[in-house]
Amino acid sequence: LAKTTQPISMDSYEGQEVNITCSHNNIATNDYITWYQQFPSQGPRFIIQGYKTKVTNEVASLFIPADRKSSTLSLPRVSLSDTAVYYCLAGDDKIIFGKGTRLHILP
């Protein structure tokens, strides 16, 4: 299970693209990179997962460079409802949550 490091907090404005970068220098060969979102008083919600290169779904994109030592979650055209804590995890089974990135979207 690789240790991950991500910014503690970020602010952005509605309509902007938000990129949250996570570093995982000790990522293992079998580890996947997974991002979760958590709203207050709710459980974490799976956003996106990838192993290498780029993954895109209806919510976000995930960019993973060739060395896999970092990854970037990209949220296109954010809205106020995207205000949440975003967690980056790198592992193959057990989830160990860090403190995440508290994203605050401003009007």
Binding site: T34, G43, I95
Partner: protein
């Protein structure tokens, strides 16, 4: 979209009492988990459960805690002799072992807020 259901949403219990938290995982999932989150702190792993037995547990999951899958749909967390510091949100999660070669993300319920008085 199927979801993990947890009941009750809020449980208030006197210190020293036993409490059982209930979860209904997604129906075809076979891996089950409990986590807790103390107010303002990180989500902490408690235990994972597969094939009717605990597969992994954290240091937090001591003899005070137990899990059970009493039937084909429920997954419970029992806390015996509750303490004030057990007050937290408790989240249940499940995952699908569809392809054991690919990490399967966990799906979380919205939690039970446990308040110990």
């Amino acid at each position: 979209e199927p979801e993990v259901t947890q009941t009750p949403s809020h449980q208030v219990t006197q210190m020293g009492q036993e409490v059982i938290l209930h979860c209904v995982p997604i129906s075809n999932h076979l891996y089950f988990y409990w986590y807790r989150q103390i107010l303002g702190q990180k989500v902490e792993f408690l235990v994972s459960f597969y094939n009717n037995e605990i597969s992994e547990k954290s240091e937090i999951f001591d003899d005070q805690f137990s899990v059970e899958r009493p039937d084909g749909s429920n997954f419970t967390l029992k806390i015996r002799s509750t303490k004030l510091e057990d007050s937290a949100m408790y989240f249940c999660a499940s995952s699908d072992p569809a392809d054991p070669k690919v990490y399967q993300p966990q799906h979380f319920g919205d939690g039970t807020r446990l308040s110990i008085l």
